[in-house]
């Protein structure tokens, strides 16, 4: 991509340093827990030790005797205001605090309000709750068996634990393709329950001002505007109207999807503040965060792939059981209960596909949110990339050559997939070839063959993923009815500086920098002269927030469109100043000049000043614009990753020796930030591939509920990532950009799993579920007769 601006202006393609960093490296960021208000109270939450139990009695006597404790709030208290249940983003219902029974271990049971953090914790420790345990339903398969205890007894007429059935694609054509196939492969793939575990947990400060009747909530949220509307809809009946609600999302210490939902703690804090008229702070601890906040994934997948003898793939068939916990609290666009899982044909030119998903209730925390990915895309990519690898191995073909043969070819774009998506652009072979050349694929295969002769276990894994991000076109995409546009509002000040506000919310992605670069690219105003603000619903334009890699595809596009509106008006002002017709001017970033007389020109700064001091008669003063951008399509970032692993036969440890990621996110705004996003995404791909899982024992006791046993990779386990890119612009995005924050999380696990299976295939191993832990591999090796 050619640079249109100088480094001083810092438009697209410049690795300018981040505007956020000066405050963060000084410890001067403002995260939610850093906010302290006069007279603030603290909330702590009593949680259930049982996965499923009737609540017989809650005795607050001892808690109320703790100095500093002001109140113990129960479901009965909230029921008086009809606030004990709330809707989920998937239009299911979730308890704020229970009245009758608890549905998972660590569920909120009561809340203690006190004058200090320590007093609230002391109070919570001595609230006495009497439970009558009920049988826990842990396995989603068993949950759907006849005779399984029905969990959602609150729903009249609910006779089982089945939530919904969803299917997509042409079943008959797919069945026909399978019947005609020369070769088919079938595999059970479990993609376990994991947690985003951002280093900052969730929390809020709710402050209801009784005098002006306004509620302000500082909150760890990725979607402040949507939250405001949800609060107004849910609490309208107790007098909270939307113009009296202000959500402030300050600096956020990582989101990754975990800060999209509304958790009960937020609602209790709001209720407590409305009742007391005092600010109320609720900050969860790490164990609460891991055990009770929305989980990701938990998909039990049966996948089948069909092909011809020569290795041409023809069809894909998938059946999936989705464990949603006790309520469907996924954060998907309303129309898609399984998210965008039906991008599961991936990068391959499959002529037929059919996918079915069934949701089940179990006695586990609710969720189904993303883990740094766009609505179930990792599940889709992991499935197709594993299946393609299995088919290649089954046919005795090299997995790279096999992919090359089956890729959608560059000339097929825009490409309509068998499951109905229109892929915008791609060059999958180009990315894979670059990865193969970069890592020395042929040489690695030779090394592997030699090592295998010596009995050493080395594997090479490929993942050639296609993502689907930037939700989304309003025709298909909404959350609770709110269309998934996003926004940018620009004000150019008289002296040529600017402020731009957005409906999204950065959680570390660096929006203050990259959005300023988009404006710099379009307006020619130096990025340093542009202030970017997000996260305050009283000032920012309405938008759906940051998740699913939608900020660049949607709000970034809004920034370009709003900038172009500024330029349209600026052109008229410049024409007035230069006494020529607007159409006689040519524009390059930051400058209008007269066609054929480049010396006769006005800068954007001249124009800005004139907009307030010398604007043409009949034109409104000022230089401002707003755009609510409704994307015409999603964007489809892609890439090819190659991973090299060595497996220790003695311990079963998988050591990632090398990992090269070639990403294509279209045109790049800031190469430094893109590379940083890829590094982080790769690490969040490595994590579930090798380490992270939240599982439950037969009684519904959580395993992996603290950092003691939920293992985040440290600097020691994390490889030295190698990165590179190709550039295939999106044809429909105003900047040709696609979004990159989640690509690596989506693509990396399959590369690692494929490398492990590649190392073990000759032993008769076809598949290993992630996380591929040393005990799992050790056991597998012993089963296959491999000893140290």
């Amino acid at each position: 991509m050619t640079l249109r601006t100088s480094p001083e202006v810092g438009g697209m393609g410049h690795s300018i340093k981040r505007k956020e960093d000066p405050r963060f490296i000084r410890g001067k960021g403002t995260y939610v827990d850093d906010v302290v208000l006069p007279g603030m109270l603290y909330l702590d939450i009593v949680r259930s030790p049982h996965a499923h139990a009737k609540i017989v009695k809650i005795d607050a006597t001892k808690a109320m005797a703790v100095p500093g404790v002001l109140a113990v709030i129960t479901g009965q208290d909230l029921a008086k205001y009809n606030l004990h249940w709330m809707p989920t983003l998937m239009s299911d219902t979730q308890m704020v605090l229970p009245v009758e029974k608890v549905m998972y271990q660590a569920q909120e049971v009561a809340a203690v309000l006190a004058t200090s953090r320590y007093a609230a914790a002391d109070g919570a420790a001595v609230v006495e709750v009497e439970y009558d345990p009920l049988p826990a339903v842990v396995d989603p398969h068993k949950a759907l068996e006849p005779g399984a205890p029905v969990l959602r007894t609150d729903k009249k007429d609910k006779k089982d634990n089945h939530i919904w059935h969803w299917e997509w694609g042409d079943r008959a054509a797919t069945d026909r393709a399978f019947a005609e196939a020369d070769v088919t492969v079938k595999e059970q793939i479990y993609i376990p329950r994991i947690h985003v575990a951002s280093i900052e947990t969730c929390g809020c400060i709710a402050h209801f001002d009784k005098v002006d009747g306004k509620l302000t909530v500082w909150m760890t949220t990725q979607a402040p505007h949507a939250i405001r509307t949800v609060f107004a809809l849910v609490a309208g009946h107790v007098g909270l109207a939307e113009h009296k609600i202000r959500i402030i999302s300050p600096d956020i210490g990582g989101g990754f999807g975990g800060k999209v939902p509304v958790y009960p703690g937020y609602v209790i804090a709001v209720a407590a503040s409305v009742l007391t008229g005092k600010p109320v702070k609720w900050i969860e601890d790490r164990m609460e965060n891991l055990q009770a906040d929305s989980f990701a994934r938990d998909y039990h997948i049966t996948a089948e792939l069909a092909g011809k003898k020569d290795g041409t793939l023809t069809a894909l068939r998938i059946k999936t059981l989705a464990d949603h916990g006790y309520t469907d609290a996924a954060a998907n666009p309303s129309k898609f209960p399984a998210g965008l899982f039906h991008v599961c044909t991936g990068s391959y030119d499959l002529k037929a596909a059919h996918v079915e998903v069934d949701g089940a209730y179990t006695n586990k925390p609710p969720g189904g949110i993303a883990y740094r990915c766009s609505f179930r895309v990792t599940e889709a990519v992991h499935t197709i990339e594993r299946m393609v690898d299995i088919m290649a191995h089954q046919l005795g073909q090299d997995p790279a050559a096999f992919r090359m043969k089956n890729f959608i070819r560059p000339e097929q774009f825009p490409y309509k997939s068998a499951l109905g998506w229109e892929y915008d652009s791609g060059n999958y072979g180009g990315a894979l070839q670059k990865a193969m050349d970069g890592i020395g694929y042929a040489e690695l295969r030779r090394e592997q063959a030699e090592k295998r002769k010596r009995g050493e276990l080395m594997g090479i894994g490929i993942s050639s993923f296609t993502e689907i991000v930037g939700a989304g076109p309003s025709k298909h995409f909404d959350i609770l009815g709110l269309k998934m546009f996003d926004s940018c509002e620009i004000r150019i000040h008289p002296t040529g500086k600017a402020i731009a506000r957005f409906g999204t919310k950065s959680q570390g992605q660096g929006h203050e920098t990259t959005y300023a670069q988009i404006l710099a690219e379009e307006l020619g105003i130096p990025a340093a002269d542009i202030q970017v603000e997000e996260g305050d619903t009283d000032t920012a334009p309405y938008g759906l927030g940051t998740y699913a890699s939608r900020s660049t595809p949607v709000a970034g596009a809004a920034a370009a469109v709003a900038s172009r509106k500024i330029i349209d008006k600026g052109r008229k002002i410049a024409a007035h100043l230069l006494e020529v017709a607007p159409e006689d001017l040519v524009y390059e970033p930051g400058k209008f000049s007269v066609k054929g007389s480049p010396n006769r020109s006005k800068t954007i700064q001249d124009v800005a000043f004139a907009a307030y001091t010398n604007h043409p008669q009949g034109m409104e003063a000022g230089l401002e614009a707003v755009s609510y951008y409704d994307p015409p399509n999603l964007t489809y970032p892609f890439g090819s990753y190659i991973c090299v692993v060595d497996i220790d036969k003695g311990t079963g440890e998988v050591k990632v020796r090398r990992f090269l990621a070639i990403d294509d996110c279209g045109n790049i705004i800031n190469p430094m930030i893109v590379q940083g996003q890829v590094h982080g995404g790769l690490t969040m791909g490595l994590a579930p591939a090798l380490f992270e899982e939240i599982s439950y024992d037969e009684f519904g006791n959580v395993q992996g509920g603290s950092f003691i046993d939920y293992l985040l990779p440290t600097a020691v386990e994390t490889p030295k990532w190698e990165t590179g890119h190709t550039v295939t612009p999106s044809p429909h995005h105003p900047l040709g950009a696609k979004g990159v924050g989640e690509s690596a999380t989506v693509g990396a696990p399959a590369a690692i799993a494929n490398a492990v299976v590649d190392a073990l295939w000759h032993l008769g191993v076809r598949h290993v579920d992630i996380p591929i832990t040393p005990p799992k591999v050790w056991k597998l090796l012993r089963e296959k007769g491999v000893t140290e």
Binding site: G253, R286, G508, H679, S706, F707, T718, K720
Partner: protein
């Protein structure tokens, strides 16, 4: 209990409960909010501060244990308006994203470089392995520490020559 600590060269006194955690003394009593809390169980390192030259996780130290001792927090890195080479390194190498783990990373690295002025990449990775970062994938944090180490060696060399 009366506790007296020196933080970033400044003496502070406070009346605290014996059970008050050092991180709460720093954040809530003294309102130095650069030090963060990420796990309460000594795993994540977001709360790392330097106590008498050693990095400690301040969520697992009582405030009273710091009585009459010297503490350094992220707010103490910048001196007379000049950023510390570690701060410069983290900005130059894109060693931070959300910024939440950053103060702890800076403190651990600061204590480490004081004892290991010319570390290998592997030594840096082990040194920061008690600090979790969910955003960066560590590659650029390692580069940031190397950046600072080189700068500090340069400064020390120049100082030695004088």
């Amino acid at each position: 209990m009366r506790v007296q600590v020196t933080i970033n060269g400044e003496k502070h006194e406070a009346d605290v409960e014996p059970r008050l955690l050092l991180v709460h003394l720093i954040r809530e009593v003294l309102r130095l909010t650069g030090t963060h809390i990420g796990c309460d169980t000594t795993h994540c390192g977001a709360c790392t501060v330097i106590l008498d030259g050693r990095p400690v996780k301040s969520c697992t130290v009582f405030a009273v244990q710091a009585h009459e001792r010297e503490i350094m927090t992220v707010e103490g890195l910048e001196q007379n308006g000049a950023l510390h080479p570690l701060q410069e390194g983290f900005m130059a190498e894109h060693g931070l994203q959300c910024g939440y783990c950053t103060p702890g990373m800076l403190m651990t690295s600061h204590a480490f470089l004081a004892k290991h002025p010319a570390p290998s990449e592997d030594e840096i990775r082990h040194a920061i392995s008690g600090n979790l970062c969910r955003c960066t994938g560590y590659v650029n944090i390692v580069k940031a520490v190397q950046h600072a180490a080189a700068k500090l060696r340069e400064t020390a060399g120049a100082g030695g020559a004088r």
